[in-house]
Structures are given as structure tokens and as C-alpha cells.
């Protein structure tokens, strides 16, 4: 178990090291997120939405920015392995499960880094007041995890396809849409202070993340090896 974990962490550390040297995924995600945030805050701003609509509409905008920023860069970890012809040696050296978990950890860290910068900025620029702060952090953490699990397995599936750029969004969106709806409801719930909405969101997102983790772990060796 520890050996497997060390192998997976080696994959994640290698991806982080190469990403910080090239900054392809981080730049894609970061620029997309900051551009949309600037556009939204400039055109909509904190006061153009009626007070009763603010919790819900601002939750919609927040998750649109996070999801589409994720779609702009989270396929890179697998696509880059194929484009730079490093995937065959990785296939021969590492166990498929260690590669999957390592890539998942990398995508998770990238999403959490994005959220750590984007969400406070968004709340300040849009004047988004959150009543249940810790529950909001929990929803962000669980949502980020489910987003990472889904984008990791879809990136692995599309990495060997010729039209991978378009395929990543096309295949991800049907899986991400239900998650996005739950997360929007939960975020509106924490903004308004509605514990029952928050708890049902946490259960739903936990279930989705859990199911996708099991499905991805089972599916990945086939996707990666054949």
C-alpha cells in the first residue's frame, strides 16, 4: 500500500514539477478564470442583481467560472504525455492505478489552487456574502474533488484521440452538468443560510464523487493500457 502510494505521489510530484516549469495548464486555467471574473464583475458588478436573486445568481456565475476554467486546462496532464511521447515509458514503468491516482492528485491540487485564488476574489468583487462559511468551504472542497475525478478519467479517455480538444468538453459536460446543478443549489444554500439544502448538496456531491472514483479506478487500467 505504501509503495503504491509512493509511486502515485511520484507521478503527482513529477506533474507538478513539469507544470511549474512550463505553466501551460495553470496559465490556461488562470487566464480563463481571471478574464471571465473581470468581465462578470465589470458588467454585472455587486449591485446590478436584485437582493433576493443574489445568492442563487452569484452561485451560478461562480460555478460557471470554475467549471469552464477547469475544462480549459485539466486535460493537459494526460494529453501532454501523449503529445510529448512520454506515455509509453510511463505505461511500462508505473502501475496503471498509481498513474491514475497521481494524475488525480495533480488535477485536484490545480483545482484547489484555482479556487484558493478565484473564490475570495469573486466574493470581494461581486460582494457575495456567505452566511455558512465552513459549509461553503466543504462544498468547494467536495465539488473540487468530484470535478477532478471526472476530468481526470475523461482526459485519460480523450488523450489518444485526434480531436481531443473538442472531445474533452463534449464528454465532460454531460457528467459535469448534474454536479454543477447540485453545487449551485448548495452554494446558494450557504449564502442564504439554509442548512437542509446544504446537507442534501453535501450528500449528493459526496455520492457523485464516490461513484465516479470507483468507476474511474475500475475503468482506468483498460483506458490506459489498451
Amino acid at each position: 500500500m505504501w509503495r503504491w502510494l509512493a509511486e502515485a505521489m511520484a507521478v503527482a510530484a513529477k506533474d507538478l514539477r513539469t507544470e511549474f516549469r512550463t505553466r501551460v495548464a495553470i496559465n490556461s486555467l488562470g487566464l480563463f478564470a481571471l478574464t471571465v471574473l473581470a468581465a462578470v464583475s465589470y458588467t454585472v458588478g455587486p449591485y446590478r442583481i436584485a437582493a433576493e436573486d443574489r445568492p442563487f445568481l452569484l452561485a451560478v456565475l461562480l460555478w460557471i467560472v470554475i467549471f469552464f476554467a477547469a475544462l480549459a486546462g485539466l486535460d493537459r496532464s494526460f494529453v501532454k504525455e501523449e503529445e510529448s511521447h512520454t506515455a509509453p515509458l510511463l505505461r511500462l514503468a508505473a502501475s496503471p492505478s498509481a498513474v491514475w491516482f497521481g494524475k488525480l492528485v495533480f488535477n485536484l491540487l490545480v483545482i484547489y489552487m484555482l479556487m484558493a485564488i478565484l473564490v475570495p476574489l469573486y466574493c470581494i468583487l461581486m460582494g457575495y456574502t456567505i452566511v455558512m462559511v465552513w459549509e461553503f468551504v466543504l462544498i468547494l472542497a467536495l465539488g473540487g474533488y468530484a470535478l477532478a475525478v471526472i476530468t481526470t478519467i475523461v482526459a485519460a479517455i480523450i488523450a489518444r484521440a485526434l480531436t481531443r480538444g473538442a472531445l474533452f468538453s463534449v464528454l465532460s459536460l454531460p457528467l459535469l452538468l448534474p454536479l454543477m446543478i447540485f453545487l449551485i443549489q448548495g452554494t446558494a444554500g450557504v449564502a442564504e443560510g439554509m442548512p437542509e439544502v446544504v446537507s442534501s448538496t453535501v450528500r449528493a456531491v459526496l455520492s457523485m464523487g464516490g461513484i465516479m472514483t470507483i468507476v474511474s479506478a475500475a475503468l482506468f487500467p483498460v483506458v490506459w493500457s489498451d
Binding site: 509512493a6 509511486e7 511520484a10 507521478v11 516549469r21 509509453p88 515509458l89 511500462l92 508505473a94 489498451d226
Partner: protein, 209 residues
């Protein structure tokens, strides 16, 4: 790492949709011998090597690894083999030592810095050079790929045009090293069109093209 892997393959065929790469190839690679695969460009030498090392599945045919008379499961093949091939690259954002330490870690050897250093010195690269592989010449990158293949002291080596881009001194070193592998009882499968490299083995599989 146990020595003595025998690789047998019989009636192996590969086809991509309507394009037939090869129809029926059979042979055997045994410990202490170099099996040479030859054939004109496009005859499927690299494809056959990819099939033999488990990266591709054949359209038809059977490949079996034997160790001490026992069949090795396909999932365990990767532990026994090292591969050098033009289509397989190392990470160009990392330096040579970082590359080898990464491959050592994912192979479950830990960072194994001493072994990484030893392999780099063996192929004539400086372990203390901190230049990313992107800045290497093609010959230096080839030396690094060879070091990566030798890192875990595999019993079975697949070499696809291993001397390409090497300077004359590098080719001499490689020839001597492969000779030493034979004496050490390692199994070597070599795909090449280089006349000098063809002479390294007495067993040949010729693909028609």
C-alpha cells in the same frame, strides 16, 4: 531482479483497419542471446517490438514470457523489461537525474540516487548537469533513454535502433555493453537495419514489408 526471461511469440499478426502491418510472425528470444528483427522501413519492426513488450495488443497470435519454466502474467511483464525506442521519450522539462529518479520511484525503487548516478555515468552523461533534457543533443537524449532502460537492471531488453544518433564512441560502447549483457544471461531483442548492429545477434527474424 531474476535473470533468464524467455519470450516466445507465434503467428503474431497486426492490422490497423484495412492496413496489414504483418501477417504471421513467430520466433523466440532466449537468455544470453540477441534476437535481431530486421526488415525494410514500414515492415513493422517497431510495431512488433511494441507488441512483444506489451504496449500493443496483436490482432492475432500469442506472446508468452517464461521465467524459470513458469509463465509470467502479462500484468507483470513490465517489471522484467527495459525498452529503448525512438517513439518513446523521457521528460524534456526535467534534467537527466530528475528523469531517472522519477522512473526509479514509479518502479518502486525509491529515489535510488546512487543507482541513477551509476546509470548516467555508465552511458557517459554527467549526473550533476542540471540542464533540462530539452537542451540536450539527440545523441545525449538517446544515452539518457538507454540509462532509463537499464535503471532497474531488467532481465529483458528491447532495443529499437539503439545506436541511432550516437557518436562512434557511443556506438562502440553500446556494442560492448550488449556483448556484456549476453554474457550476463540477459535476453535482448533488437530491431535494426544497421548492418553493424545486425551482427550482434545470431538469431534473426526478417519482416517482409
Amino acid at each position: 531482479m531474476a535473470d533468464g526471461i524467455r519470450v516466445s511469440f507465434s503467428d503474431v499478426a497486426k492490422r490497423y483497419d484495412l492496413r496489414v502491418v504483418f501477417r504471421s510472425v513467430s520466433g523466440e528470444a532466449v537468455p544470453g542471446k540477441v534476437l535481431v528483427i530486421t526488415g525494410p522501413n514500414g515492415s513493422g519492426k517497431s510495431t512488433l517490438l511494441s507488441i512483444l513488450c506489451g504496449l500493443l495488443r496483436p490482432t492475432r497470435g500469442e506472446i508468452t514470457y517464461h521465467e524459470d519454466g513458469h509463465v509470467v502474467e502479462r500484468d507483470a511483464w513490465r517489471r522484467h523489461l527495459g525498452v529503448v525506442a525512438p517513439a518513446m521519450a523521457v521528460y524534456e522539462e526535467l534534467d537527466a537525474m530528475e528523469n531517472l529518479c522519477f522512473f526509479a520511484r514509479v518502479r518502486g525503487m525509491g529515489p535510488a540516487e546512487d543507482r541513477c548516478r551509476e546509470c548516467l555515468e555508465l552511458v557517459g552523461l554527467d549526473p550533476d548537469r542540471r540542464t533540462p533534457v530539452r537542451g540536450y543533443s539527440t545523441g545525449m537524449a538517446q544515452r539518457l533513454k538507454i540509462a532509463q532502460a537499464l535503471l532497474h537492471d531488467p532481465a529483458l531488453l528491447f532495443l529499437d535502433e539503439p545506436g541511432s544518433n550516437l557518436d562512434p564512441a557511443g556506438k562502440d560502447w553500446l556494442e560492448n555493453y550488449v556483448g556484456g549483457l549476453e554474457e550476463a544471461g540477459k535476453t535482448v531483442v533488437l530491431a535494426t537495419n544497421d548492418r553493424r548492429e545486425m551482427e550482434w545477434g545470431v538469431r534473426h527474424v526478417a519482416l517482409a514489408g
